[in-house]
Amino acid sequence: MRHILIIGASSAIAERFARLQAVKGERLFLLARDPERLSTLAADLRVRGAAAVEVATLDVDNLEQHGDTIAAAWQTLGKVDITLVAHGTLPDQRHCERDQREMLAALQTNATATLSLLTELANRMEQQGSGSIAVISSVAGDRGRQSNYVYGAAKAAVNVFVQGLQNRLASSGVQVLLIKPGFVDTPMTRDFPKGPLWVQPEVVAKGIAKAIERGRHEVYLPGFWRLIMLVIRLVPTTIFKRLKL
């Protein structure tokens, strides 16, 4: 039976991932903002077969809370086999362009909070000498583009930080997995028109589980995004800056 810590547990992908683990009879510790939602989630996971589900509230924007919350999770679980960092918001790019505070808030939730949590997590996992840290980033972090560069910048910060962790923790027995989903149909992307590239959160959750099993360090989900982003990264700037992506 494995011990799994999920930050941002009420996000669509995290929920599907938690369900996959519950069916396997694992033990789960969920962190999210809303206690009622946490309790519904916990009930669902118990019915599906989780060995045990514990919850605690965490607003990732309260940076001072991170240390204590993670300490409490470790206290309860003893050992943590997998941590999934899944919280996030999708800011309105145009609003962020006009409103500095909104831009800073987006960066706080999607970059600063993540890096702060990872700092705690990395130290604990390193001490433990085993386990996996899986971080949900995005293809948006691979290259800045006019339609979402605030979100992209935050994810890019996460990407480089995680690369650093991978380097630091390489010989410590800890797996660090960077997850880059493409377009996923979730409440976060509710207002976007959906097309053929869009997938359901279940698909991404399954991909994450598989990547963790296989000890991967980076995964694009679905896989075809690796090729798409390779092309996007290779387009020369003189051309790229004139595109309307």
Partner: protein
């Protein structure tokens, strides 16, 4: 955005609201009227309105009692979710419809039936209770013993009493996942009906009927009886191997192609009678394997006409219906015939003792008058039409077919549901 039912006709511009829990509903209700929707598997306009309260995000299990098989869950949980989670643990649903992609809320609101109605009745007959949110935003627990009027109005009530937020279902123990299927070739309607009559204890029965065969071959069908296998067979994850990703051209399904398909399908079994073991999914949900099969009917969509005829008039009545369908020249590539047991106490529940026939028709100008004609035949036989499939039934016909509509209307008026919950269908039917 545009919303539509499984028949893809009619379509409606709607605001699709996605509350993540029942807590968010009262505020949405205050903002205006609308109708609840789950997976949009009803065929017509029962879940169409300018505002649609979708249960898609309310999809959590809440509690399960291993000793009794009672499962409490939110209304957006689908039967597929339940089966995926519980069949491997040795449980199944006592009543399942022809597709597993329906929500619990939808299953209750349409009071769905399956291939075992003659023995096990409708979905609502295996509910311990349901929780209904009324126009006021208050929630009420309803069951045959608690708030019974509200229960009987809500089961089969097409969302017109409020929003179902939760339900407690009774699952049934079942060791094996496979079905022993015995298929008979019936060369005529007489033979098909005789097979149903002579196998009243078959756990499951359904006939795929060639609705375009005429003369002595009229009503030729493959009658498939089913029993749960006693042991073995872990359920394989059902996939969708085929898909129809775009609308097919109008002409693809026409009298000739359909007749040809039906012929081939009827003759795919050489023997008069054959038994084989099939997977759960292929017996109960044969069409679920083809993703978006409803697109075969093209962009303008189709209407499914499902009616029930009482036993006494069924033989003649079905024959007349098949005659009419033949003369009209259009029909579906497989029509379905099933045996029903007695009706229950729900006000708008569809099944009554007799035989039910379901046929798909492509949407075209000549369809409306033709279906009105079928309505008259059905009414003359003492039967009625299924609202979950309906897209065009008239108010006059509806009120004659469902005399208990007045009891639903009373409940609606009493609870204020008439001001808050309505669909294009309810407006057309005058409830």
């Amino acid at each position: 955005m545009e919303v539509f039912g499984w028949g893809r006709y009619p379509r409606q511009q709607a605001a699709l609201l996605l509350p993540r829990s029942a807590r968010e509903l009262p505020q949405l209700l205050e903002q205006g009227a609308g109708i609840a929707a789950g997976m949009h598997r009803s065929y017509g306009d029962s879940a169409l309105a300018e505002r649609v309260f979708s249960s898609r995000a309310m999809n959590h299990f809440l509690a399960f009692n291993e000793a009794t098989g009672e499962l409490r869950c939110e209304a957006g949980v689908t039967l597929a979710d339940i089966m995926d989670a519980f069949i491997p643990r040795g449980w199944f649903l006592p009543v399942v419809p022809g597709t597993r992609f329906v929500s619990v809320g939808g299953a209750i609101a349409s009071d769905i039936h399956g291939k075992n109605h003659h023995l096990d009745g409708c979905f609502s007959q295996h509910l311990r209770s349901l929780t209904l949110m009324q126009a006021s935003g208050e929630q009420f627990v309803c069951s045959p013993s608690e708030n019974p009027e509200l229960f009987h109005a809500t089961c089969g009530g097409m969302g017109l009493t409020g929003i179902i937020t939760e339900a407690t279902l009774l699952l049934r123990r079942q060791a094996a996942a496979d079905v022993e299927q015995t298929t008979y070739k019936a060369d005529s309607l007489e033979q098909a009906l005789a097979l149903f009559e002579n196998n009243p204890d078959a756990s499951y029965s359904v006939a795929w009927i060639d609705c375009l065969a005429s003369g002595r071959k009229q009503g030729r069908s493959l009658v498939m009886l089913g029993e749960h296998a006693s042991a073995g067979g872990a359920r394989q994850q059902p996939g969708q191997k085929l898909s129809v990703p775009v609308d097919m051209p109008r002409l693809l399904l026409n009298r000739y192609s359909i007749a040809a398909f039906n012929s081939l399908y009827f003759h795919r079994q050489r023997q008069h009678c054959a038994t084989r073991r099939v997977s759960y999914d292929s017996y109960f949900f044969p069409l679920d394997g083809i993703s978006q099969w409803n697109r075969l009917y093209g962009r303008q969509g189709f209407v499914q006409y499902q009616c029930v005829l009482p036993k006494a008039t069924a033989r003649q009545g079905l024959s007349k219906l098949l005659d009419a369908i033949n003369r009209h020249g259009a029909g579906s590539f497989l029509a379905v015939l099933k045996l029903f047991g007695a009706a229950n106490e729900n006000y708008l529940s569809f099944p009554q003792e007799g035989y039910t026939l379901a046929v798909d028709f492509k949407v075209e100008d000549s369809l409306w008058e033709f279906l009105d004609q079928l309505d008259r035949q059905v009414l003359d036989c003492g039967g009625r039409v299924y609202l979950a499939k309906d897209a065009r039934l008239s108010e006059k016909m509806f009120k004659q077919m469902y005399p208990s509509w007045e009891r639903l209307a009373e409940v609606r008026a009493l609870t204020g549901a008439d001001k808050r919950f309505s669909s294009r269908q309810s407006q057309r039917l005058g409830i």
